[in-house]
């Protein structure tokens, strides 16, 4: 349990965000997509490459063999960082880098950070995880992440009640967000029904096609600096990370853990406690959504509803921008597409956009705070490896 909240003073902030359209098989490289994000950030902030002295990135699937990725991005963009970092906690990396950048700023390693997340796995995916995968995963015939989430859903349904109409209601709500999000994958910008979800193709039971994200290409990013510097430079819309908690390899040494229990049972309540908040204080929720069941488990384990009641909560709660708990108002990754390891940025950027009051057509009224989460990596026979929870404030 984290005792000290290093974000409590609101002394760091996000001053601008950038995001490309999400598309399939663009033929672009992560560098080209990252350049599009960087150009948006330079245009918005009027900063120049020489002004950036901190750089944080994700390690793209499409550039997986390059073990020097952050330095290559610095060179590509013409940056001269004094803090330069690739973060590889999977889908938790984008949100994780906001916390890492905050620490680098507070420590004085740098004063103007660019975070660039870009990936193109639907053009080329060059990842090879090594470790146990070659021995104990691929030869078994298990269908990657959908297989792992199939185990998780079947086990949950054995222990609790799982109402698939609740997951369907979430799929429907997120698609409505994608329809209103001009950056969402174009083919996903049409509404679906709960029946569409229930009748979608089985991938790895009970998991269906519409439970799942689809790999795409795209990028997103932001500029961060100290609040003092942001004010001195005249930035008006500041978004502050106010609490953060992450945990990797939850239950790691346990050989027979309850696989329905995730790291969010730690990082969720931890982040809330650090912020001095209760779940009911959270105005909007932008959870990392690789599969619908992950969002449901987070609702339960962060404390928005009781254990075992997640699917009923989703079924009975208005999740729209005007509802009780707006969730993934831009479609999330399931609604808008997953630009590989930049995917966590889809949820994160939507939260920042909302807090800056720029979510046209889907804006939550009077935005004050938002919770964002990151999920990273599928481990062997468990749920997921990294569980990260961040609370942002306008």
């Amino acid at each position: 349990m984290a005792k000290k909240n290093f974000l409590e003073k609101k002394d760091v902030c996000i001053v601008a965000y950038g995001e490309t359209k999400i598309d399939r098989a663009t033929g672009k490289t992560a560098y080209e997509l990252g350049a599009e994000v960087a150009a948006q950030l330079f245009e918005k902030t009027k900063l120049k490459p020489k002004d950036i002295d901190g750089l944080g990135i994700i390690h793209p699937l499409s550039e997986a063999p390059n073990t020097f990725m952050s330095t290559y991005v610095a060179e590509y963009l013409g940056l001269t960082p004094r803090w330069c970092q690739t973060t590889d906690i999977g889908g938790g990396s984008c949100t994780g880098n906001v916390a890492r950048a905050a620490m680098a700023l507070q420590a004085g390693m740098c004063e103007t950070v660019m975070l660039v997340n870009a990936d193109a796995p639907s053009t080329i995916n060059r990842s090879d995880y090594g470790s146990y995968r070659s021995e104990f995963w691929h030869p078994v015939g298990v269908q990657g992440p959908p297989g792992a989430f199939g185990f998780l859903m079947n086990r949950y349904a054995q222990q609790y009640e799982l109402d698939y109409r609740g997951l369907g209601a979430l799929a429907v709500a997120q698609r409505k967000g994608a329809v209103k999000n001009p950056n969402a994958y174009a083919k996903f910008r049409q509404e679906i029904t709960v029946d569409d979800y229930l009748n979608s193709r089985l991938v790895s039971t009970p998991l269906r096609l519409l439970d799942s994200v689809m790999f795409a290409d795209g990028g997103n990013g932001m500029i961060m600096m100290t609040t003092e510097r942001a004010k001195s430079l005249g930035f008006k819309k500041l978004v502050h990370p106010i609490a953060y908690s992450e945990i990797t390899n939850f239950n790691g040494p346990e050989q027979t853990p309850d696989i329905t229990e995730t790291g969010f049972s730690v990082s969720g309540p931890d982040a809330l406690a650090l912020a001095g908040m209760k779940p009911g204080d959270i105005q909007q929720f932008h959870p990392y959504d690789d599969f619908l069941i992950a969002v449901m488990l987070k609702l339960e384990q962060i404390g928005f509803c009781k254990r075992g009641e997640g699917s009923q909560y989703l079924r009975d709660t208005d999740l729209s921008p005007t509802g009780k708990l707006p969730i993934n108002t831009g479609g999330g990754q399931i609604g808008a597409g997953q630009p590989g390891l930049a995917g966590g940025g889809v949820n994160l950027i939507e939260a920042v956009r909302q807090l800056m009051g720029e979510a046209e057509g889907r804006q939550v009224a009077n935005p004050k705070n938002a919770m964002v989460t990151g999920i990273g990596v599928i481990p062997y026979g468990r749920n997921w490896t990294t569980s990260a929870t961040m609370i942002l404030s306008a």
């Binding site: 146990y132 015939g141 079947n154």
Partner: protein, 138 residues
Amino acid sequence: MAQAPQKKPRHIPRPPLASKPFWDATKQGKLVLQYDPEAKRYQFWPRAISVASGKQNLEWREASGKGKLYSYTVTHVPVAGFEDKVPYVIGLVELDEGVRIMGNMPNVKPDQVKIGMPVKVGFEKLNDDITYFYFDPA
């Protein structure tokens, strides 16, 4: 008549040195597990360190090969080498020794699989180097 799906080669393990005893044993029709005598615990998958004690004190012990099904999934979109098997069952098995292990269940039909069902290990030769494990109803 539907065309038979084109089959790609099944992935063959590339074992590191640490798990050589595991693959030597499967060739003899045995399932062995790493055991930490200090923590008195088994672990799976094989590693060069005990995740319980942090020591390199692991012994290999023959396992019963018996356990119960902790969870399962029926795969409808096959991976390489399983194109002609769909839909096929994959189990997440809890062995009597207190570890979980994923395995194909080639002799269990999708409508027969049930969480909690007793299972036992079986083996199939993939090539001269690798004999792979699977699970059958016990």
